[in-house]
Symmetry: C2
Subunit: 361 residues, 2 copies
C-alpha cells in the first residue's frame, strides 16, 4: 500500500478514482436498468433507430431528461475513432491579427460541430514540437498550424503531413511543404500600398523590408517592386533596408538613419505597422512632416495605427476570413481522408488598403 501510486508520475499523487464517489454520471446502463431493458435498446432509442418502438423511445427520452444523461464522449470517441476536436498551433495569441484568426477558427469550428484546442508556440521550434505531440496525444482529428519564423520545424510538420495527418497551414505557411494553405496575399497588399504612395505623388519610395527568415518578407518586397515597375519608377537598392527584428524600436532607428542621409526618400513603405509606428515617431523627432514631406504606409492594421497622429495608412487582412477558411478546409480534409487525392488548396485572402492621414497629400 505504501507506494500505490508509482504510475502517477505525470499527474502527481492523485486519486481520481475517489472523485466518482461523489457523483456518478448517468450512463446508458443506468437508464436500461431503470426501464428493465438492454443497453443496446437504450442506445438505439437515443439515435431514433427504426427498429425501436415509439413507446420505448418516449420512455428513454424522459429518463434521459430527468437523470441528466450525457453521453460519455470518451466511450463514443473510442468506438468511433474520431473526436471532433481540432488543434491550433500559433506563435503568439496576444496580437490583433492572431486573435482575430483564432476567433474565426473557433466560430467556424463551432458551426461544424468541432471543438478547438489551442497551443501557443512562441518563437520556439522545440515548443512547436512538444505542443503538437501533446495535441495529437489528446486525440485531435486534425491540426491548424501557423509557423513561427524559425525554419527548424518545417521538417517536423512535413513528416506529420506526409504521414497523412490532416493539416492546414494558415497565415505563416511553410514553403517546403505541399499542403493546404490559407494566407493573405502579401504580394498584392504590398503592391496596393506602394501604388497608393505613387498615386499620391511620392517618387522616392523606400521599403523597410522584413527579416530574411520571415515568411512574408519576399512577397511583400516583390509587390513593392512590381508597383515601382508598373509605374516606371526607378528602383533604388539603397532605399530598401533589410530589418532584423521589425519592431517599433527598429523602425525608429532605421528611419533616423535613412532620413539623415544625403539623398533621402519621400515615402516609407514598412513591412509592418510596428515599424511604421516607430517611423512616425522618428519623423516627428526630425521635424519632418507627415504626410506633406514624407508619406508612410504600414501593413496589417494594428489598432494603434488608427489612433496615432497622423493616423496610419495600412493594409488590412481579414483574420476572420482566414480563420473561417482554414477551419473549413481542415474539417473537409478530415472528412475526405479516404479519397486522398493529393490535391491541395491554397486559399489566398486578398487584403485591402486602409487610407488614413499618413499618406495622402
Amino acid at each position: 500500500m505504501e507506494n500505490n501510486f508509482y504510475y502517477t508520475k505525470n499527474y502527481g499523487i492523485l486519486n481520481f478514482e475517489s472523485v466518482n464517489m461523489l457523483k456518478k454520471r448517468t450512463t446508458l446502463k443506468d437508464i436500461a436498468e431503470k426501464l428493465g431493458i438492454s443497453v443496446a435498446t437504450v442506445s438505439r432509442a437515443l439515435k431514433d433507430h427504426p427498429e425501436i418502438s415509439q413507446r420505448i423511445k418516449d420512455h428513454v427520452a424522459l429518463l434521459v431528461e430527468s437523470m441528466h444523461y450525457r453521453p460519455n464522449s470518451f466511450a463514443v470517441h473510442l468506438k468511433n475513432q474520431h473526436s471532433n476536436m481540432i488543434g491550433v498551433i500559433i506563435p503568439k495569441i496576444v496580437h490583433f491579427h492572431s486573435s482575430t484568426i483564432l476567433s474565426g477558427i473557433i466560430a467556424k469550428a463551432q458551426e461544424l460541430n468541432y471543438q478547438v484546442l489551442i497551443c501557443e508556440s512562441g518563437k520556439d521550434a522545440e515548443s512547436e514540437r512538444i505542443n503538437t505531440t501533446a495535441l495529437i496525444n489528446t486525440g485531435i482529428d486534425g491540426l491548424l498550424v501557423s509557423l513561427s519564423n524559425n525554419n527548424f520545424s518545417e521538417d517536423f510538420f512535413g513528416e506529420l503531413h506526409a504521414e497523412g495527418f490532416p493539416m492546414v497551414f494558415f497565415d505563416k505557411v511553410p514553403t517546403t511543404i505541399s499542403s493546404h494553405k490559407v494566407l493573405t496575399n502579401d504580394y498584392t497588399g504590398a503592391f496596393l500600398a506602394t501604388e497608393h504612395l505613387i498615386k499620391n505623388n511620392y517618387q522616392k519610395i523606400a521599403h523597410f523590408k522584413g527579416q530574411k527568415g520571415a515568411r512574408n518578407t519576399q512577397p511583400r518586397f516583390n509587390g513593392y517592386l512590381a508597383a515601382l515597375e508598373k509605374y516606371k519608377l526607378h528602383y533604388e537598392p539603397k532605399f530598401v533596408i533589410e530589418c532584423e527584428k521589425c519592431t517599433e524600436e527598429e523602425g525608429f532607428n532605421v528611419t533616423m538613419a535613412t532620413m539623415q542621409q544625403d539623398e533621402r526618400p519621400d515615402a516609407l513603405f514598412c513591412v509592418n505597422d510596428e515599424m511604421a509606428i516607430g517611423a512616425l515617431s522618428a519623423l516627428r523627432k526630425l521635424n519632418i512632416e507627415v504626410p506633406s514631406q514624407v508619406g508612410v504606409v504600414g501593413f496589417s492594421d494594428l489598432t494603434a495605427g488608427k489612433y496615432i497622429t497622423p493616423s496610419l495608412t495600412t493594409i488590412a487582412q481579414s483574420g476572420i476570413e482566414i480563420g473561417h477558411k482554414a477551419a473549413e478546409l481542415l474539417i473537409k480534409e478530415i472528412h475526405n481522408k479516404l479519397k486522398n487525392d493529393n490535391v491541395f488548396q491554397q486559399h489566398i485572402i486578398e487584403p485591402i488598403l486602409i487610407i488614413r492621414d499618413s499618406s495622402s497629400r
Copy 2:
C-alpha cells in the same frame, strides 16, 4: 444497406470507419503480439511497473519507438475518468486584455499538463449555455468562465457549480455565486486613477460610469468615491454620468455634452480606455487642451492609449497573472474534488497606474 447511416445525423453522411483502412494506429495489442507477451505486461512495462523485468521493458521501449506507438487517449480517459482538458468560456477573444488572459491560461495549463479548449460566447447567454454544454460533453475536467454582461446565465452556471463541477470564474465574475474567483481589483484601480488626478491638482473630477449591468461598474465607482472622500473633495453627482455602451463613440458624445455645460469638470476618469479615447477626440474638437486644461484617465491599458496624442494615462491589469492564477486554481480544484471543503478562494490581482501625458500637469 440503403439507409445504413440513420445514426449519423450529427456528422453528416460520413464513414469514419474507412479512415482506419488507410493506417491503423499501433496499439498495445500490436506490441504484445510482436513480443509474444500479454497486453497487460506491455502496459505495465510502459509505466515502469516494478514487477516487470528490465529485459521486457527494454524490448517494449524499442518497439514503442519503432512502431510509433502513441497511447489512445480516449481509451485512457475512459478508463481513468478524467481527460486533462479544461474549458474556457470567454465573451470576446479579440481584445488585448482577453487574449492576454488566454495566453496566461494556456501557459499555466501546459505547465501542469493540461490542454485548453476555448469557446467564445459573445454577449449571448444562449451561446454561453450551448458552449458550456458542448465543452462538458467533450469531457473537460473543469471550466474557466468569464461572464458576459447579461445576467441571464448566472443561474445556469450557478447550478453547474452547485452540482460540484470544478469551475473558476475570472475577470468578469458573478455576484450571486459563491465560488473560486480571480479578478482585478477594480476598486483600487479606480482609486489610484482618481487619486492620481487629485494629486495633479485636478479639482472637479467627473466619472464616466459603466453600464448598470456591467460587473465592474460599481467597484470602479466606489473607488472613485473613496478617493474623493480621502482627499476631501466634494462629490458632485452631476459629474457622474452613467453610460450605456461605453464605446469610443459614447465617450465622444458624453464628453461633448459634459464639456458644454455651464459648470464643467477639469478631469475625466473614464470607466474604460475606449471611452477615454473618445473623450480625447471630443476635447480636441472643442479645443480644450489636455492635460493642461483637462486631465483624462482611462482603465485597462489598451495598446492604442500608448500611441494616441496625448498618450493616455490608464490602469493596467496583468492579464497573464489572471490567467495563471485562474488555471492554477481550477486544476487544484479538479485534483481536490474529493475533499470538498467548500472554501472558495478569491484572488484579487492588484492593478497598477500607468502615467502618461493625458493627466500630468
